[in-house]
Amino acid sequence: MRLVVAECTVDYRGRLEAHLPRAVRLIMVKADGCVAIHADGGAYKPLNWMNAPNSLVEEPGRWVVTNPKGEELVITLHRVVSDTTHHLGPDPGLQKDGVEAQLRDLLAGRPELIEPGLTLIRREYPTDLGPVDLLLADPGGGTVAVEVKRRGEIDGVEQLARYVERLELDPRLAPVRGILCAERISPQAKVLAAARGLGTTEIDYARLRNAGSSEPTLF
């Protein structure tokens, strides 16, 4: 990871044209070639970025980043405040928020609690739109996509509907139905889920946690 703090102007040409006027910013060049330009605010989104694969050419006072799609990012460096490189090593990946991830893992071990007869195919099943929390097989030969939330709201229903639509395209999985699992599901989410042909199941997290714990204890 190379971190450069510099007073710079940035010009992007590609899907559109964008210009960042002269200011001090953080330029990150990641090990995989991604380049991101950050301001001193906002939690996650860079002001401008280029995803790998990229080609970075350093000229005096000017960096030119290009990619195979023909996009170009030109960073003009007026003053470099700091330029450091760190080796971060392999990343263990993102761990989800405690309750939600635990709920997902407990349900993976006890899928019959979502619906009798269901068996686990895979956790975090990848789709083009992101991983679906649980992919289960039902006894009738169909597939069940399960989205696990701490609180089931309308956006969770929308998310699940998109996954189901995507998974349906895979003939190995079809027919696919979806179930939204959460500790609490709002009435609006239940209505929308029913309208979209999706199921909803409320899970008692505390009971599931105790039921799921078959580990012997000391006392």
Partner: protein
């Protein structure tokens, strides 16, 4: 009240007191820090009534007084000031935080609403602060975080002839740490959550420890940490520890920890890690139906009644215990695959971690 001090010193004194402030407090005023300025000192108190932290710093007191400031906001405001002197003072119902240029004006909280936190005189015994913090760290890994069983969320402080003993258990594992020669008087169950704050709040080379009927008090030159005791009877743990183990394997701690770190990529709490204790060390393996598995050999020394012994554990609990061992070599002592095993440091009688195996 009005005081002036270096930004970093002020940020530190507020930040440490803020460690006691909970995210969900019954009283809104407990989101605030009670600041008392007199002489040339400021005393800052944060509390959620279960855990109370009082920190102190030498400052320039321009006007003595008492105020309750919004805790986290004021800390962040101070820390984001330009380097140099920062002034905190009251002005017409607001708290003003002023640096070289920037000026925050924040709403005060009511001093009258802030609960009276009397200061019991518990006496106290001076102990090595670093050793105490390390010992607390070794046992709190075994404490439960499940509020449904509050007794198991605590650490038992027990005075014995030989010294102080700390014990914690969540019913799946039990950690015991002896501090020989530490003569703290009294016995009580203190919440692990509060004890974990010791190094970050008032931790110092020397710490005074006092145990009363209802609370434990830890104080140093950096301030005071007070934790309310948990009421109830701690499990009778002594009988849980077997007196002999026919099987034992000794392996380097770091090798085992690294192996468990690799196991964690595949395993999760409910997927047991299998250990075969055998001549030459440990054969370790894990299998998860929907993901795959991992296996490896950890060289070590084994002695036992049988040629080999298969035993399985919750991988996280095992890693917690191994990580808490303070020596370079770790010993796993087992009776069989069903009875509790012991993890301890080689030639270290002061720490013991009892772990229940998982059925396979």
């Amino acid at each position: 009240m009005r005081i002036r001090a270096d930004r970093d010193d002020l940020g530190d004194v507020l930040g440490r007191a803020n460690r006691a402030i909970g995210t969900r407090t019954a009283l809104p005023v407990l989101q605030g820090l009670l600041c008392e300025a007199s002489g040339n000192r400021i005393r800052v108190t944060g509390s959620d009534l279960e855990v109370t932290v009082r920190t102190e710093a030498t400052v320039e007191v321009l006007e003595e007084g008492v105020v309750v400031i919004p805790g986290r906001l004021a800390e962040q405001a101070v820390k984001r000031m330009p380097a140099g002197q920062v002034t905190i003072g009251t002005n017409d119902g607001d708290v003003e935080i002023v640096g070289k240029g920037p000026r925050f004006s924040l709403r005060q909280l009511s001093v009258e609403d802030y609960p009276a936190l009397d200061e019991p005189d518990l006496g106290g015994t001076e102990v090595d602060g670093d050793e105490l913090a390390a010992a607390i760290g070794q046992v709190t890994v075994a404490a439960s975080t499940d509020a449904a069983r509050p007794i198991l969320t605590g650490v038992l402080f027990e005075t014995r002839e030989e010294g102080l003993r700390l014990v914690a258990t969540d019913s799946y594992r039990l950690a015991i740490r002896d501090l020989p020669g530490v003569g703290v008087e009294g016995t009580g169950l203190l919440p692990a959550r509060g004890l974990k704050e010791l190094p970050r709040t008032v931790g110092a080379t020397k710490v005074q420890v006092g145990l009363g009927d209802r609370e434990g008090l830890f104080s140093s030159e950096r301030g005071m940490l007070r934790v309310r005791m948990i009421e109830g009877s701690f499990p009778k743990y002594q009988s849980l520890v077997p007196d002999r183990y026919p099987n034992e394997v000794v392996v380097p701690k770091e090798d085992l920890l690294e192996a468990l770190n690799r196991v964690a990529l595949v395993a999760e709490d409910h997927i047991p890690v299998r250990l075969t204790l055998t001549d030459g060390g440990i054969e370790l393996s894990v299998t998860r139906q929907d993901v795959g598995g991992e296996s490896e050999h950890i060289p070590g020394a084994y002695r036992g009644d049988s040629e080999s012994l298969l035993i399985a554990f919750n991988p996280r609990y095992l890693a917690d215990g191994v990580g808490a061992v303070a020596t370079e070599e770790v010993s796993i002592q087992a009776i069989d695959g069903l009875k509790p095993s012991v993890i301890r440091g080689v030639d270290d009688p002061t720490f013991l971690y009892l772990l229940m195996p998982v059925r396979i």
